[in-house]
Symmetry: C2
DNA sequence: GTCTATAAGATGATAGAC
DNA sequence: GTCTATCATCTTATAGAC
């Protein structure tokens, strides 16, 4: 539906050194389509049409279709990881016990430091980021190559989360923290993908695009869940 | 990989009135493949090969590819809904205030009545059910036609959950209950789809196939989350 | 860098023999 | 009911002109 950015037809002299812009245009188009229909649900022709470029250009820039997908996935993963790592480091630093007057870290605080950057980026980052989160959510639930892809890109920051939580609750077992992380990531990814299901389910009471509503609830929801699981495990031991 | 059930080749006289069995065989094959690779990631030829039947038979029995998918999705949805509805009705009845000696309903109890049937079916139902849950999880995170499909099949039982929770916590706002349900379903679906990611993430500490571990944590995790969100909303009002 | 043209093969679906 | 054979179309990807 959406055509090319500037030029309508590919006629005549390409308006100079568009190479890099075109590459981004193709990535944007691919990102949106992959997010909506999945890897196999999109053809390179569709991507070319959406980007307003020729099919051959896609192969010229990215090679095979799967490489295009990886390029889409990789483009924002780095930014995401840096934002989350910085957020968690800042939280830990702000609650350094050596710092006078700094309060102690809390489970909810750590979880907020882990999730909040994603909500903020989704809210302020524009439609490309919305598509990207939907894409990640889909990959996360794809058994075939999803688990491997997620691990490759996002495992380090998750380990950072778990280790930080282990500092806050030293008595907690790692297996409880990992299970709780799985619960957390399921909730978080579904919320970030904004599927619209809660809109119809709640008959207009809630809107999946309302990430402020997510922010107001998800942190305390997850924190209470973590605490409950940890407490239950301790009492059973 | 897996060949046909009984006959090795399609040669000779088909061993009588196999029609219904074959239909199920095709559905089983399609279910497993769709669960792993999604709708567009599977070809009718692959389904035919996996089922050990001819390609034409698939169209003879089910028509178009999308109709085959719907048949796969529908086959177990009904069973699932009945199991969950029965479980929740039984829980409500067991805690009827009119019944002498019956304790009051709890948030955790209601949530357990909602989720436990799925865990039990996945544990006792065989590999077909495992595939089915992975398939539902994938559809749940598919923006294109996923939301609509999920709504069509599973909205009623979710409304039943929300209404029952509203009885247990009358002061809770519906929007809080719907948001918490979204968090719950994200956790639940990811756990049921057994993607294997937690296995590598936890370096062998946890296994996604260990639904007993999920059972031991998910109910209390979600219940604590619901309570926290409800409490926060009340105090803010 | 960008387009035209096309190769080489896979895909959903059907008609008709048995 | 089941299989053979095939159509018409679409797919990814490349070679080569400009």
């Amino acid at each position: 539906m959406t055509a090319a950015k500037t030029r309508v037809s590919g006629r005549g002299r390409p308006s100079k050194a568009k190479g890099l812009d075109l590459k981004e245009t193709i990535l944007d188009a691919a990102e949106g389509l992959f997010a909506r229909h999945g890897f196999h649900g999109v053809t390179t022709r569709q991507v070319a049409a959406e980007a307003g470029v020729d099919t051959a250009l896609i192969h010229y820039y990215f090679g095979a279709k799967r490489e295009l997908f990886d390029a889409v996935f990789l483009r924002r993963a780095e930014i995401l990881n840096q934002a989350r790592e910085a957020s968690m480091n800042a939280y830990v630093k702000a609650h350094d016990p050596e710092t006078p007057g700094a309060g102690a870290m809390t489970v909810e605080g750590v979880i907020e430091a882990f999730i909040a950057p994603l909500l903020r980026i989704s809210q302020d980052g524009g439609p490309g980021w919305k598509s990207y989160f939907a894409l990640v959510a889909q990959v996360n639930n794809t058994p075939a190559w999803g688990g491997e892809t997620m691990a490759r890109f996002f495992d380090p920051v998750v380990h950072q989360l778990v280790e930080t939580l282990k500092i806050v609750r030293p008595q907690a077992e790692y297996r409880d923290l990992y299970w709780c992380y799985q619960f957390l990531t399921g909730s978080m990814m579904l919320s970030l993908s904004e599927t619209g299901r809660i809109d119809s389910l709640s008959e207009g009471e809630c809107h999946s695009s309302d990430l402020e509503a997510v922010r107001a609830r998800l942190f305390s929801y997850c924190a209470a869940g973590f605490e409950a699981v940890i407490a239950k495990a301790s009492s059973a031991a």
